[in-house]
């Protein structure tokens, strides 16, 4: 029992990282933009988030407060991701560059920037960038009182996580409400499904695509920051972060573009990615566990395309740029 609870808690920790990446990408793809730069965006979020917290502590010294550091890290990561996505948006929406190629270019660029900033901080600070233990703890502290966490079984599963997990759940619910219950959300979905129809209906396509992509990129970037500040222990670690962005892209498919699915989907993927550390199943080599998420995603992709049910498809215009004069 304890093994399972430990597994779930660890899965949630890694799943939180994925959840931000996925939620951001869902919003982006809802607008019809396939941003394959998530990997780069999450690198940038990680590096800038760490930089935000680190330089804040350096400036504030011993008076640095945990909550403020968290807020600054979130803002820094979000801004970095938004800036990266702004480049992507400008190229694909205004200049109509190919989305796949632009996304891959952003991936290369973003991983480069993330690495560069991480390395640069390390070199300029004399070899080691780390927060003080106080701040580190505030990033990975549970937010609920100990009494709740001590409830047997349920306590650790539901109440022992960091603030980032609960925030991600809130973002997922808000995104669901936005997409399903508000007019703007409906418009956004319409833009992703059929830009030409939306354009004819008087919706400002460009505005919706820009805003959704930029905010989506910002949300994804927070995931990178969460990884660096919780799992990696507030130290720049590019190896651990590599591949996370691609996994988030896979997860978007697995969730069939629904934000609420991202909550359990990311925990499930998180579990698959760390399972090899905790449980060994006879006859299945541990390395094979790690490809499970991708295999599951492929199966979902195949099944949805075979069934051809309309509400489970990718946004119809995904990956295709819209140009009004082109018919």
């Amino acid at each position: 029992m304890t093994t399972i609870i430990t597994l779930i808690v660890a899965a949630v920790t890694f799943g939180t990282v994925l959840m931000y990446g996925t939620l951001g990408e869902i919003l982006t793809e809802k607008a019809g933009n396939l941003n394959l730069g998530v990997e780069g965006i999450m690198y940038m979020g990680g590096a800038f988030g760490l930089a935000g917290a680190f330089y804040y502590e350096k400036a504030a010294g011993a008076a640095a407060s945990g909550p403020l550091a968290i807020i600054l890290a979130i803002i820094a990561a979000f801004a970095a991701g938004a800036a990266a996505s702004a480049i992507y948006s400008f190229l694909t929406i205004t200049l109509r560059a190919n989305q796949n190629v632009t996304g891959l270019a952003l991936s290369i660029f973003g991983t480069g920037i993330g690495q560069f900033v991480g390395e640069f901080m390390r070199v300029s600070e004399g070899g080691y960038v780390a927060l003080s233990n106080n701040l580190k703890e505030s990033f990975s502290a549970a937010i609920f009182p100990q009494a709740l966490i001590d409830i047997p079984v349920v306590g650790r599963i539901f109440f022992s996580h960091t603030v980032f997990f609960y925030m991600a759940v809130v973002v997922a619910v808000l995104m669901f409400l936005f997409l399903k219950k508000t007019r703007y959300g409906m418009y956004l979905t319409a833009v992703g499904e059929s830009p030409a129809t939306s354009d004819a209906a008087g919706i400002n396509i460009t505005k919706y695509k820009y805003i959704a992509t930029i905010i989506g990129g910002g949300i994804s970037a927070i995931g990178g920051m969460v990884y660096i500040m919780t799992t990696a222990g507030c130290v720049w670690n590019h190896e651990g972060l590599s591949g996370v962005g691609w996994l988030a892209v896979a997860l978007v498919i697995f969730c069939i573009w629904r934000p609420l699915n991202a909550i359990w989907g990311s925990v499930l993927f998180g579990a698959m990615m760390i399972m090899y550390l905790r449980i060994s199943i006879p006859f299945i080599p541990t390395e094979i566990y790690k490809i499970l998420p991708y295999i599951v995603t492929v199966i979902v992709l195949i099944l949805t395309s075979m069934k051809n049910s309309r509400d489970k498809q990718p946004p119809a215009s995904l990956g295709i740029n819209y140009f009004r004069e082109e018919r």
Binding site: F116, F120, P285, E287, I288, I302, S305
Partner: protein, 362 residues
């Protein structure tokens, strides 16, 4: 409609720009990208011009550096050639990374278990062919589902990359592991290594042959023509009686096969072993190369050399000026952004509203 409703800037497609102007725009975009590359170098407190100098020196100034640069460029070039027919068909194959990896797996199998049973040349030929077939089959999986159920190929091929890499990770730590616990596959014997010609493994010859073959295939053959028609309009192709699904599968097999050959060249010419990072991003970078070359085989040579110079030079930059080698990725990214943007100015004409009156365009 009133005049004020005319937007300040409108766009129109154009195809009439002359070649000289097009090349001016492209070269201009590269220069702008290199200028933008000054920014990160300046932030590290170094002189950008001398940094670029070091990059050029470190990649081209001596024969040995030049050879290493070519070694980086060969897989990029071959793989860009592999991607070209898919992209021409508007089949967004971003799974070259996985196809390279699977080709490498097949080649490695023969290198590990057949190298003492076969003579040099037949062994290499078998490695070459098995790499091509395995890469091709790996690419055929998403192509089949695309042809049959119209499954989204971008996402499918992307997933296949990580499955391939996972398989290698498993081989590395399991069945093919050399010394127990090393997590490494043993080095190939000399028998399984491709010979060097002029100091670089002969992959560069394969690459140049492929450039020619691909050029002929795409411009002079019936199959190349079919690919072009599907790329322009799937419906036209259907009305003309082409079996689109079959052509998609055939082209993807071809593309995967070339990527598989890249895998063979990498393991047998450069690394002499297999590990999970064998493709090392080549599959992704070469997509940009293919696209930026307008799928033109010969332009790919220039662009892949350019990116190889950056990558090789950046390593020298790190040792000499303590600038992180990731600067290569940043400048590559900026280059790609600028070149992608430049296509806009080649393909579209900006029409600026004058004097508030709607004007007729010629």
């Amino acid at each position: 409609m009133s005049d004020t409703r005319t937007p300040l800037i409108r766009l129109a497609k154009r195809t009439d720009m002359d070649r000289k102007k097009i090349w001016c725009i492209r070269v201009g975009s590269i220069i702008i990208a290199l200028l933008l590359g000054f920014i990160p170098i300046l932030l590290t407190g170094n002189n950008p011009l001398s940094a670029y100098g070091v990059i050029i020196q470190g990649s081209l100034s001596r024969p040995i550096y030049f050879k290493q640069t070519v070694k980086i460029a060969v897989p990029l070039l071959c793989c860009a050639l592999a991607i070209a027919p898919c992209f021409k068909m508007r089949f967004w194959n971003i799974g070259a990374e996985g196809q390279i990896t699977m080709g490498a797996v097949a080649a490695t199998y023969f290198a590990l278990f057949w190298s003492n049973r076969l003579p040099h040349v037949p062994l290499l030929l078998i490695m070459f062919i098995s790499g091509a077939i395995t890469g091709g089959l790996w690419a055929l999986i998403p192509a089949f589902f695309k042809a049959r159920w119209n499954t989204n190929e971008t996402l499918f091929t992307l997933m296949m990359n990580y499955i391939a890499i996972g398989i290698v990770a498993w081989l590395q730590g399991g069945p093919w592991e050399g010394r127990k616990g090393s997590q490494l596959i043993p080095m190939f014997s000399d028998n399984a290594r491709i010979p060097t010609v002029l100091g670089v493994h002969c992959g560069w010859i394969i690459a140049l042959i492929l450039v020619l073959l691909m050029y002929v295939y795409m411009t002079k053959t019936k199959q190349g023509y079919e690919i072009a028609v599907i790329g322009d309009s799937v419906n036209t192709a259907r009305y003309a009686g082409m079996n689109v699904g079959w052509i998609v599968m055939r082209t993807m097999f071809l593309s995967g096969a070339i990527s598989g050959i890249v895998g063979f060249i990498i393991v047998s010419g450069a690394n002499f072993t297999l590990y999970k990072g064998v493709a090392n991003g080549v599959g992704f970078t070469s997509i940009s190369i293919a696209w930026l070359s307008q799928l033109n085989s010969f332009a790919m040579i220039a662009i892949s050399m350019m990116l190889a110079v950056l990558e090789k030079g950046a390593n020298t930059l790190q040792t000499r000026m303590q600038i992180p080698a990731s600067i290569a990725d940043i400048i590559t990214g900026i280059l790609l952004f600028c070149m992608l943007s430049s296509e806009f100015f080649i393909n579209y004409r900006l029409i600026i509203r004058r004097g508030g009156r709607k004007e007729e365009q010629p």
